[in-house]
């Protein structure tokens, strides 16, 4: 069986637009949550989010390129470029035909869509730019990265709400493992800060008024985040042959459907996905040291996820570190699994456990070691990264340390 490893990473988020900044923020337990700056929030019930700051599109794209790129695509393309640079792969025509781009996005170019609707409905405009459709399409990142890098292998986009990126990364793993691809760019990107979309979240009543406090007793909900992260995946054999740095092996992928409720999570469904990832990665529960939790900070998710972890790990759950980095980079929806995958890969490479920030009082219903408020040194042998979407679609990645 072909084994798949991660040899390159790119990330843009509210806690850093480079890998180094992202890691520094995780280690310092420094959340990137604050007042929303991109839109006027005076007609919203919540005012905070985890926005990507300091991102200057003109530093990365020409004006004519930007005309065709929604913010979610800009973030995704830059993350892909950074991941490719980080991988130090040497590209040739053969490898390019065997490389695919598989990206996740929940919303696509929703900012562009919102702006166009505002023009039509409010400003009574009668026409919009012909760039609208390609800016809005959810596969924009996959297509632009493929075109820019001349990657011509299997390329597509998954859209499964908050699990989008994990479904994308999992598909990439399987496509390389089964020999369809030799290399893949996989991850997710999201830019959800548009008035119409935030009003929709307001109506769901799951956004916290202040900050995201996963696993805390008085947690009040999610904080929406934006960002993008991309991974370069290739075979272990190829990575070793070229002497590449290896973050970790992407050992397994598991998915499941709750088939239960649109918004209420089900522990059994989450547990099935975790068990499937372990089985796919030939890992026993006792080998896992760390779980990067879905950990949204809603009352329902965090207690249900705790029950699911206890179902999967039994007494070993008391020896696991479980943290939610959403407490720092927010819930980036279709990019969430990619950002959390990067946090997990950094934990492997640089031997630390990312903390759960903003933690206050313990909740008996979340009785796990959630690495509260302080990063910790640790050597991880194997880890899971959980994503559970509205609609009950679960996707879990399993990572394992591997010698370079």
């Amino acid at each position: 069986m072909r084994r798949v490893v991660v040899t390159g990473v790119g990330v843009l988020s509210s806690i850093g637009n480079t890998l180094t900044q992202f890691e520094e923020s995780l280690r310092a337990c420094r959340p990137g949550i604050g007042p929303i700056t991109q839109i006027d929030t005076s007609r919203l019930r919540f005012h905070n989010a985890a926005e990507v700051g300091g991102f200057e599109p003109t530093g990365h794209f020409t004006d004519s390129q930007l005309n065709w790129l929604d913010r979610f695509a800009q973030l995704g393309i830059v993350a892909a470029r950074d991941a490719i640079a980080d991988s130090t792969l040497t590209w040739n025509d053969e490898l390019r035909t065997r490389t695919g781009v598989i990206t996740g996005s929940c919303l696509g170019g929703i900012g562009t869509e919102d702006a166009h609707y505002f023009g039509f409905y409010h400003e009574k405009k009668s026409r919009c730019s012909p760039t609208a459709v390609p800016r809005i399409m959810s596969n924009a990142v996959a297509s632009h990265v493929a075109m820019e890098q001349k990657f011509t292998g299997a390329t597509f986009t998954t859209s499964t709400a908050c699990s989008s990126a994990n479904h994308a990364i999992g598909q990439a793993l399987w496509l390389i493992r089964q020999g369809t691809l030799d290399c893949a760019l996989a991850g997710g990107s999201e830019a959800p800060i548009s008035f119409g979309h935030l009003k929709a979240w307001e109506a769901m009543r799951v956004v916290a008024p202040d900050t995201c406090r996963p696993f805390s007793k008085n947690r009040a909900g999610i904080i929406l985040g934006e960002g993008a992260a991309m991974l370069v995946l290739e075979t272990l054999e190829n990575a070793r042959a070229r002497g590449a740095k290896i973050y970790a092996e992407l050992a397994g992928f598991g998915m499941s459907a709750d088939a239960y409720h649109l918004t209420s999570p089900l522990a059994e469904g989450a547990a099935r996905a975790m068990n499937a990832a372990l089985e796919d990665g030939h890992l026993s529960p006792e080998q896992i040291n760390y779980v990067n939790a879905h950990g949204t900070g809603t009352q329902a998710n965090d207690s249900t996820e705790t029950r699911a972890i206890r179902q999967v790990f039994g007494s070993h759950a008391d020896r696991l570190a479980v943290s939610s980095t959403k407490s720092m980079h927010g819930h980036a929806l279709g990019a969430a699994g990619a950002l959390e995958g990067v946090a997990t890969l950094l934990a492997f490479r640089n031997n630390f456990l990312p903390p759960t920030a903003n933690f206050l009082d313990r909740d008996p219903a979340c009785d796990l070691d959630v690495v509260p408020n302080e990063a910790r040194s640790a050597e991880i042998e194997a880890a899971l990264s959980n994503s559970f979407a509205f609609g009950g679609l679960n996707a879990v990645l399993a990572f394992r340390r591997v010698a370079e």
């Binding site: 019930r45 109506a203 769901m204 009543r205 409720h261 918004t263 209420s264």
Partner: protein
Amino acid sequence: MSEETVAQRVIRIIATNKKMAPEEVSPATRFEDLKMDSLDALNMIFALEEEFDIDIPNEEAAKMKSVDEAIHGAEELLKAKSSASN
């Protein structure tokens, strides 16, 4: 026809939401007795906001666990609205 009271309007909204006859809903009815799940409750709160043109904050919404509590909440928010507009 006399004008509907706030209580009658709340009951009508809840009954419509649950596809029941208004006679089957009384102030004492608890939402759990109506088999209302979290999404049903969200939809009902939204329908109340639309009916009365009020904003029901999350803290107020969380207190509404019965028809009576929804009526009381709507009345208080309507009072606040009319005093704000005076």
